[in-house]
């Protein structure tokens, strides 16, 4: 057994994970919310107006972090699906399936905010260029994974089948990311670089990066939340789950 599986087995004991995730959860949601509010404030109020786009550019502070998250969540899901398929680790199955709805939510946000930005900038809500199309395909991939996962009765089998589909869909990730360089499109190329010179003013960059950080933290909170529920569902017959259920029942009346 290699280090990775050992680690997963240790931490991946369901009751342990449930408890740890429960401890982490409020912090993830709390810090995510806090950073997000700060980022929104500084993006909407403190950051200067763009000389070209005027105030419309402020959509960047929600569009770009959401778009990044749509890619990150898919990568996270696929990585977990891979681990789940190769090493049959229950926790990875759960994490993969838990990240699908969150990723879909971010993809949806990226699409809608992109469209809302496109109308004033390009004069149209939607065009069929490579980046927009591939992002739409990404949403469909997420929905396919969610749909397949929901359609199969046996939870573990469902997670494996849907994880398999997620892995097939990974080819779309580089297409989304590099579409602006591979094809000439309406959509803007890379402007933000973590390393090397950035093409964007620092006063605009830092709220953006802050929001990106906030969405990452929020993402993990949301995934942990869903993973905990999936764990309860999956381990419904175990004693520790019964205890959780009865405690909750006593508390909730």
């Amino acid at each position: 057994m290699n280090i990775l599986t050992l680690w997963f087995h240790k931490l991946g004991s369901p009751p342990t994970f449930y408890r740890l995730a429960g401890l982490l959860l409020p912090w993830c949601y709390g810090i995510g919310l806090l950073l997000g509010l700060v980022a929104l404030y500084s993006g909407l109020v403190l950051a200067p107006r763009d000389y070209q786009q005027g105030d419309a550019y402020r959509i960047i502070f929600v569009h770009v972090p959401a778009a990044w998250m749509s890619l990150f969540a898919y990568a996270f899901m696929a990585a977990n699906a891979f681990i789940a398929l190769v090493w049959h680790i229950k926790l990875s199955e759960i994490l993969a399936m838990a990240s699908a709805p969150v990723g879909a939510a971010f993809t949806f946000i990226a699409l809608v905010t992109g469209a809302l930005w496109g109308k004033p900038m390009w004069g149209t809500w939607w065009t069929w260029d490579a980046r927009l199309t591939s992002e739409l395909v990404l949403l469909f991939l997420y929905l396919g994974v969610i749909g397949l996962n929901a359609a199969i009765e046996d939870r573990r089998q469902a997670a494996r089948a849907a994880g398999f589909l997620a892995l097939i869909g990974v080819v779309n990730l580089p297409i989304v990311h590099f579409s602006v360089t591979w094809w000439n499109t309406l959509h803007q190329g890379s402007t933000i670089r973590l390393m090397g010179p950035s093409k964007i003013d620092a006063a605009m960059a830092w709220p953006l990066l802050l929001m990106a950080l906030a969405t990452h933290i929020w993402f993990f909170g949301s995934v942990l939340m869903r993973a905990r529920i999936a764990l309860l569902q999956l381990e419904g017959g175990k004693d520790w789950v019964r205890k959780v259920a009865l405690d909750e029942g006593a508390a909730g009346g």
């Binding site: 149209t124 065009t127 069929w128 199309t133 969610i146 749909g147």
Partner: protein, 227 residues
């Protein structure tokens, strides 16, 4: 619940079908997603020029919704047939045509109405002129119940057959053609600035006729194919 009343039976049926849809509300999204994807296929296949897309937008939206409705038709009686509750429906002491009309109405509400709701979005994806949107919605509101009713008769005929998917499509599509011609025709006329009321009125007339006749035909077809 007063036992035996026909209205009560219809209410029970409607409640049951709505509950079933609610239990599988994830599935209810499928027709919408399918229509979205079919609409997305066309710009990809034809190229993204907005001018060209605009010209064919209404037609494509109509065809996409028609195909989505076609695929959704299969669920109308399929599961009821497989689990034997269709049999129980036929055996009930109430008029079968009325019960079927209730079923068709619920099916329309839960599959076609959401499709109509996303139609403006589909139109936007193909750069449909805003002015035509109203006519498109009106045409769809008249056309989709007609499609559901006509489709139901065909489904009733094929229920109980294995592999009816393709066969159903073959039976239904010829019946859908006139609806498509009038519905899309109205939109095209509106887009070209021509009068578009006549085709809509034709659709309305056909709808009234179908509302009366289709449930009866559906009941007759079902009696044939259930035996």
């Amino acid at each position: 619940m007063k036992p035996g009343g026909t209205a009560g039976a219809c209410a029970a049926l409607v409640r049951r079908d709505l509950t079933l849809v609610w239990r599988r509300r994830g599935d209810a999204l499928n027709p919408i997603l399918f229509a979205l994807m079919v609409v997305a296929l066309f710009p990809l296949a034809l190229g993204p020029e907005p001018e060209q897309l605009r010209r064919i937008a209404a037609g494509i939206v109509f065809v996409a919704l028609l195909l989505a409705g076609l695929l959704a038709l299969d669920t109308l009686f399929r599961s009821d047939y497989e689990d034997g509750s269709l049999e129980q429906l036929v055996l009930s002491p109430h008029p079968l045509a009325l019960l079927l009309a209730c079923k068709i109405a619920v099916h329309w509400l839960t599959t076609a109405l959401p499709l109509i709701a996303v139609a403006p979005l589909l139109g936007e994806m193909l750069h449909l002129p805003v002015a035509v949107r109203g006519v498109l919605l009106l045409a769809l509101l008249l056309a989709t119940p007609l499609l559901s009713l006509l489709g139901a008769v065909c489904v009733a005929l094929t229920v109980g057959m294995h592999r009816s998917g393709m066969l159903l499509a073959l039976l239904v599509l010829p019946l859908y053609v006139p609806v498509l011609i009038f519905g899309a025709g109205a939109c095209n006329a509106a887009q070209a600035g021509l009068p578009f009321l006549a085709p809509l009125l034709w659709l309305a007339a056909a709808l009234v006729l179908a509302l009366v006749l289709a449930p009866l035909a559906c009941a007759a077809a079902l009696r044939i194919s259930i035996s």
